[in-house]
């Protein structure tokens, strides 16, 4: 099937098999490898991207479902080398260790802050429940999101 998908502001036309997953379009066809695959079953959230502004797990979206849509991946978040506040938060507050869950965690955090710019600790923990991290115990991830929320509100 022929599809048109805009990824990080750039239009892509591709002829794909109906079974192709969005994450494989992003990684294998377009070559953006910042979006990771951790479980293939929509549990871990490492593959989280934005589809028309909403966070989705791209391992359970078909590429054809993204036809005509706008997709943002971790590579599309920084602006001319200037880190997004959430990226800055994760680096500054050590919201990561191995880094494998991080792109998905950051994309999910961005979506969380869009809906709720000033979340409580409980709301952050609830909002990120669909993204697994095995390294941090989530403590510094929560701190990172708080940092970003403060920064975005101050801006």
């Amino acid at each position: 099937m022929k599809i048109n998908v805009t990824i990080n502001g750039q239009a892509h036309e591709a002829d794909v098999e109906p079974r192709l997953l969005l994450v494989h379009l992003i990684r294998d066809v377009v070559g953006l490898t910042g979006t990771h695959v951790g479980c293939e079953t929509s549990i871990c959230g490492a593959c989280t991207v934005h589809l028309n502004g909403r966070a989705v797990k791209s391992c359970t979206v078909l590429a054809v479902q993204a036809n005509g849509a706008e997709v943002t991946t971790i590579e599309g978040l920084a602006n001319n080398g200037q880190l997004h506040a959430v990226q800055e938060g994760f680096w500054e507050c050590h919201g990561l260790q191995c880094g494998y869950c991080t792109p998905g965690m950051i994309m999910a955090s961005c979506a969380l802050l869009k809906d709720n710019p000033n979340p409580s600790e409980g709301e952050i923990r609830h909002g990120l429940e669909g993204n697994l991290c095995r390294c941090t115990g989530y403590q510094n991830i929560v701190e990172s999101v708080k940092y970003a929320a403060n920064k975005l509100q101050g801006a």
Binding site: R27, L32, T33, G34, T35, H36, V37, G38, C39, E40, T41, I43, C44, A46, T73, I74, E75, L77, A78, L83, Q87, E88, F90, W91, E92, C93, H94, L96, Q97, C98, G99, Y100, C101, T102, P103, I106, E121, I124, R125, H126, L128, E129, G130, N131, L132, C133, R134, C135, T136, G137, Y138, Q139, N140, I141, V142
Partner: protein, 743 residues
């Protein structure tokens, strides 16, 4: 411009590779592409034990397009070299566990490859298999060696048998722990290029480049310079990428050699969980003599772990578990008898803590039972038995450092508001029928570095090289797997040379380029490798001083200038440092007596729980982790290690259950193997105390594994305090608790 006078060690400096990790620029193994690369797949045994009768390639598939590898294709020794070399790289004639690799396939089309994997039919005549430690011990079948026993240890101090008759109380107990999956979020993977001219090169997700190197040498029968192992960015390990990557590297390399193409072999989650290693299940039996004052008179401990089908690392996991079994207590008569036994499970392997979480779980549960028997509070019983300076551990190791476990316990109980909460919860529980609250703690230790003579045998080497600009590159095989290796080693080098943190970088771990600083395991990277980095850094400075290019007091400009001149004259400026055991450290491998570890971290962890008697769920409401770690190199990174370890251990205690069915893991997906989410975990409150260790960098000891040891017994102790019911097995799932309470 003067050299950096502010201390770099002790600061929460930003993670070296942090920017690449938040922008998606970091390249993990599955992100790497090579021209004409093929994909690899592994066909595995469907059953636990049997004789391979035939292998058939069925279905309407273009089999001639595939590269197919079996044991016959192995040019060297068919083993995954580790300690005993008993584990085949590919099963030949017999299989000894479910998911054992038998056939390898490679093809350029990964979708067709997956169809082909399913179309290979391995016909196996089943043989009787063992799935329990008791069956292994009772030798209902002999499946390994003469007696199904990989390793036995005996630690003996005093004579326990002289004590039983005079004891006021003898307390017995039995404790069990289950398997646990490491569950790094990045599944295992390797890429190999291999041919007769260039030898074998692999890139992969791994902790120990030189383990993989050693395994490939044997598998291919090649000289050391014809095998090269390069670590790609690694998405978590926790021990799960200590030994198993050698197997995957061997498979990828065999395929690449035969295909004449680079081959990428990436596991999906289901394969990773079903086939690779997990934490050893264990059973510990305690028999303890104690007098009416609560003094421990004798501790008799039997510790058994399930090693799975091959020896792999079970002997050393058993060793650490055995040595930690008697905990941080002074007791004149201790006997620990331990065994690692063979079953037809996939081999169990390294996982953070490495045997200690199992035996410490047993001990810290058991001591609460001892306390209750004597009529003492759990904290009072421990206070009466804590190790002090000058006393000896179970292996006869004299504690030479200032050690104040009493103070540590007091502080932990204060930080957690233990006593007040205990009273409050008693009132609460008296009036609330369904929500029961409890608080409990565990007191423990964890030895850093290889056990016993291990570090002497390893003889780790670290290199450090300066460039003409004065920047410095650290050459180690110690890998960054999330724990902060790059950052802390840079801090240590910057501190030693009084340079800016930004001037230090780490070479990519590549066996063609870095010396063997040993495996990235055993809480040894900071304490052992870090100390070598410190020494090598000082060696670099010494070279410049001795050459007359630098004085002991120098500015950054003087440093840069000295490096430039030296390199112009000599071509390069490098310094190497090799491990030497600290003086007065002795270990006897025969008697298992002596200084088991160079240093221990000491800890008291307190857990607060609510048990819901409608759903039987347990929630951890608060967690205090207090530990003495020598010196904290980077406070936020160090706390991150503790928080992550506690989170894994909460999973170990309450959620993470491996469901076995005739030796096959049935819940091999994240959908039904449950690890803690952000909502499941409480705030983890981490506190450090510092008591510098002479032979650690700036006084630091190892901390990576420590946090895995204490949470499970602390949580079960808290559950007991909440509901008054004694449960001695983990994971403690709601359904288990329901059965226990309704029994």
């Amino acid at each position: 411009m003067s050299t950096n006078q502010t201390q770099i060690v002790g600061q929460s400096i930003q993670r070296k590779e942090g920017r690449d990790k938040v922008t998606g620029a970091m390249r993990y193994v599955d992100d790497l592409l090579f021209p004409e690369m093929w994909f690899g797949a592994t066909v595995r045994s469907p059953i636990a034990r049997g004789r391979i009768r035939s292998i058939e390639f069925t279905g309407n598939l273009p089999w001639h397009e595939f590269t197919i590898v079996t044991a016959k294709d192995i040019s060297g020794q068919n083993c995954t070299a580790l300690i005993l070399d008993d584990q085949p790289c590919l099963a030949d004639k017999f299989v000894n566990h479910a998911e054992e690799p038998v056939v390898l396939l490679a093809h350029p089309d990964k979708y067709l490859l997956e169809e082909a994997r399913r179309a290979v039919k391995i016909d196996i005549e089943p043989l009787p298999a063992l799935f329990t430690m008791d069956d292994a011990l009772n030798q209902t079948e002999i499946i390994w060696g003469d007696d199904n026993v990989f390793k036995t240890f005996l630690v003996e101090k005093g004579n326990v048998d002289d004590v039983w008759a005079s004891a006021d109380f003898i307390v017995e107990g039995e404790y069990e722990t289950g398997a646990q999956e490491q569950l790094y979020i990045e599944p295992n993977g390797m890429i190999a290029m291999a041919n007769a001219d260039d030898g074998v090169t692999v890139w992969g997700s791994l902790q120990c480049p030189y383990y993989v190197h050693k395994a490939l040498l044997k598998l291919f029968g090649l000289p050391p310079d014809k095998v090269r192992v390069i670590q790609a960015a690694t998405g978590g390990g926790f021990g799960g990428k200590e030994e198993y990557p050698s197997m995957i590297a061997g498979h990828a390399a065999l395929l690449a050699w035969k295909a004449g193409k680079p081959v990428k072999l990436i596991y999906d989650r289901a394969e990773d969980m079903a086939a690779t290693t997990k934490r050893h299940p264990s059973r510990t039996r305690h028999r303890t003599a104690v007098n009416k004052d609560g003094k421990l008179l004798a501790m008799d401990i039997e510790f058994v772990i399930d090693g799975g089908a091959y020896a792999t690392l079970s002997s050393v996991v058993l060793s650490r578990g055995t040595i930690h079994a008697a905990g941080p207590y002074a007791c004149d008569n201790v006997r620990v008898r331990s065994k690692a036994v063979a079953t037809n499970h996939p081999p169990h392997g390294a996982f953070r803590g490495f045997g200690a979480p199992q035996s410490i779980f047993a001990l810290e549960r058991h001591l609460n039972k001892v306390a209750a028997t004597v009529g003492l509070r759990p904290e009072e019983l421990r206070r009466r038995n804590f190790l002090h300076e000058g006393q000896t551990t179970a292996t006869g190791q004299v504690i030479r450092e200032k050690l104040d476990l009493d103070g540590l316990l007091t502080r932990a109980l204060e930080l957690s508001d233990y006593h007040a909460k205990k009273e409050r919860f008693a009132e609460h529980n008296a009036t609330n029928a369904t929500q029961k609250k409890g608080i409990g703690f565990a007191t423990f230790l964890h030895g850093a570095g290889f056990t016993g003579s291990g570090e002497r045998f390893l003889e780790s080497v670290v290199g450090i090289e300066a460039t003409a600009t004065g920047n410095v590159c650290i050459l180690v095989a110690s890998t960054e797997i999330g724990q902060g290796t790059n950052t802390i080693l840079s801090q240590i080098a910057a501190e030693a040379l009084r340079l800016d943190y930004e001037m230090i970088e780490l070479a990519q771990p590549d066996t063609a380029n870095v010396p063997n600083s040993g495996p990235t395991v055993a809480s040894r990277t900071c304490m052992i490798v870090g100390k070598l980095v410190e020494s090598a850094a000082l060696g670099l400075k010494q070279t410049l001083v001795q050459s007359g290019l630098l004085t002991d007091d120098y500015s950054l400009d003087e440093w840069r200038q000295a490096c430039a001149i030296y390199i112009a004259e000599h071509g390069a400026l490098k310094s190497f440092s090799k491990y030497e055991a600290p003086p007065n450290i002795f270990w006897n491998d025969e008697t298992y007596q002596g200084d088991a570890y160079g240093a221990y971290a000491w800890a008291v962890y307190v857990a607060e729980v609510t048990v819901n008697l409608v759903t039987y769920e347990t929630r951890v409401d608060d967690f205090v982790a207090l530990q003495e770690v020598g010196k904290v190199i980077n406070p936020v990174l160090a706390a991150g290690q503790i928080e992550g370890g506690v989170a894994q251990a909460i999973g170990y205690a309450l959620y993470e259950n491996v469901v076995w069915d005739n030796g096959t893991m049935r819940n091999n997906q994240m959908t039904n193997y449950i690890m803690p989410t952000s909502e499941d975990l409480p705030p983890i409150r981490v506190f450090f105390e510092e008591n510098p260790y002479t032979y650690g960098p700036s006084g630091a000891k190892g901390i990576g594994e420590l946090p895995m040891d204490g949470p499970a017994p602390a949580i079960l102790n808290a559950i007991e305090s909440a509901i008054g019911v004694r449960v001695n097995c983990i994971p403690l799932l709601p359904e288990t608790l329901m059965k226990v309470m309704n029994a």
